[in-house]
């Protein structure tokens, strides 16, 4: 299994506050990698550094290397727009645009220059199907995306991310605002999606990491403490701190 993303010695700073310390990790292609850890441990910061979303926050700085298919994404001259097209993202709170369901899905293709109505229609349909939402919304594509339920909105956001045909999908606690049934749907969806995409998911929910991921990384105070097969992390953790966390002794 080749690494899709290779991270070497990444330090990250918000101003003078260091949020990540020497993070090194290989994220495998067509696998689901879960990042767990207590609040403020840096797992979301790490996730957002993979598609350079932290660039939009004033006063942040990253040192070290983040390689996507062997190319450093923080090198001068890297096209951030192209990077974000390849590395899509789903956020914690469902955040559809106040636009129609259809316009939400084709937003990405449109900003990337697609204008052909036939192609956009096709993209909308395949993306909504891939996100498991098509059957629920196919007759009301011109309704507002905000009129959907929370779980549907999150799947709409996944469809929107899929529409630009990314290679990697980053999910930042995508189920934390959803009910158990919607959560289950998203987890099933992830298993479908990993055939075509590499998925990295940040989660607060350890059961979710245990049942839905192939690899798990445990973050604590900005450091990646332990990383390995999910089954091993949850049954035979090597580090005492990992064990304490997954057995619920803190966090």
């Amino acid at each position: 299994m080749d690494p899709k993303i290779t991270v070497r010695g990444v330090d990250f700073f918000y101003g003078t506050v260091q949020a990540l310390k020497g993070v090194t990790i290989d994220i495998k292609e067509h696998q689901i990698t879960a990042l767990i850890g207590p609040s403020g441990c840096g797992k979301s910061t790490f996730l957002r550094s993979l598609n350079r979303m932290n660039d939009t926050i004033f006063g942040t700085r990253l040192e070290g290397d983040v390689l996507l298919d062997g190319t450093n994404v923080y090198e001068d001259g890297v096209d951030v727009v192209e990077l974000r097209k390849r590395v899509g993202m789903v956020f914690q709170q469902p955040n559809p645009f106040p636009k129609t369901i259809y316009e939400n899905v084709v937003f990405g293709p449109r900003v990337l220059g697609e204008t052909d109505k036939g192609k956009l229609d096709h993209i909308a349909e395949t993306s909504l199907k891939a996100a498991g939402l098509w059957n629920e919304v196919k007759d009301e594509l011109l309704k507002s995306g905000l009129a959907l339920s929370g779980g549907q909105q999150q799947r709409l956001c996944i469809a929107r991310a899929l529409a630009v045909e990314p290679e990697v999908i980053l999910m930042d606690e995508p189920c934390s605002a959803l009910d158990p049934l919607s959560t289950l749907k998203i987890e099933e969806l992830m298993q479908e999606l990993k055939k075509d995409y590499t998925i990295v998911i940040v989660t607060h929910n350890m059961q979710q990491a245990a049942r839905a991921s192939d690899w798990t990384g445990f973050f604590l105070m900005g450091e990646l403490i332990e990383y390995g097969f999910t089954a091993e992390i949850f049954t035979r953790p090597e580090d005492k701190r990992t064990e304490d966390y997954i057995t619920g002794r803190f966090g």
Binding site: F91, G108, V111
Partner: protein, 282 residues
């Protein structure tokens, strides 16, 4: 003596209800008074002939209606893009530093400067220095200066209220900064921006002093940007101060009120339709 929470609740509700009722009553009374006393004067001749002057305020208000429309159209054509542009810069591009803070503070101060001061400025700069004379253009430029701080501020607030999550969603899809602004922030802020535009139109229609000193007071039918003119509000002022035709002044006021009402309704319905098409039905 301690008043029970139930009683406080009732008292508070009563006071709030009364305040609301008084606000509505005052509005109804003013508009009602103007319309009832002015209405008998309103007829075809009044609406379709220009003022003839004289102590009795002879003639109608046709040229004033046309002047008003001219002023509003020219002002809004210049003001809207300028205000939106400034707001976009302030909300999206300006770095957060002392200079920008100072600019923002100045804009706020400027919004509170009495309009006649802007009128004098317009007279000195546009009418005299730039030799635009008493003209619709001078008047409109003055109103642009007067309203720019207000519209900029309103539009900026509306854009700042667009959640960060929306911007991030667009960025994460590969949108450029400008695409985020044009396709996400501005559409989402549109209701607030429209409100700002409507209020600006209202002020452009109702200002009299700054226009009196920049577009003159000619009662002739304006025939272009460079002609002098007299808006309805200026005409009301003229009728009230220079003639004894109070009924005509009230009639003009009634037309003015109706004009503002129609403009607001129109702008509102256009923006609603625009939004429904853009955002989809709920």
């Amino acid at each position: 003596m301690r008043v029970s929470p139930q009683k406080t609740e009732k008292l508070a509700f009563g006071a709030i209800w009364a305040s609301g009722a008084i606000a509505v009553l005052v509005l109804v009374f003013i508009v009602g008074y103007v319309v009832v006393r002015g209405a008998p004067e309103i007829n075809a001749e009044f609406l379709f002939t220009p003022p003839r002057g004289g102590l009795g305020g002879e003639g109608g208000i046709s040229s004033c209606i046309v002047s008003t429309l001219w002023i509003v159209a020219v002002t809004m054509l210049l003001l809207t893009p300028l205000g939106l542009g400034a707001a976009i810069y302030m909300a999206e591009y300006a770095p957060e530093n002392k200079l920008i803070g100072f600019i923002r503070y100045s804009v706020e101060l400027l919004a509170g400067v009495p309009s006649i001061v802007f009128g004098l400025f317009g007279y000195a700069v546009f009418v005299t220095a730039m030799s635009l004379h008493f003209s619709i253009l001078s008047g409109a430029l003055t109103l642009v200066c007067l309203l720019l701080p207000f519209l900029t501020r309103t539009a900026e607030e509306a854009m700042r209220a667009v959640p960060r999550a929306q911007r991030e969603a667009a960025l994460a899809l590969g949108a450029t900064k400008w695409q985020v602004v044009a396709r996400v922030v501005v559409p989402a802020a549109m209701p607030g921006i429209i409100t700002g535009v409507i209020l600006s139109i209202g002020r452009a229609v109702s200002e009299s002093a700054p226009l009196f000193v920049t577009m003159g007071g000619s009662s002739h039918m304006p025939d272009g940007l460079m002609s002098s003119g007299r808006t309805l509000a200026v005409h009301v002022f003229y009728l009230a101060m220079e003639t004894n035709a109070l009924e005509k002044a009230l009639a003009t006021g009634a037309v003015l009120v109706v004009l503002i009402l129609v403009t607001n309704l129109l702008t509102n319905s256009i923006s609603r339709r625009l939004q429904a098409r853009m955002m989809g039905a709920k």
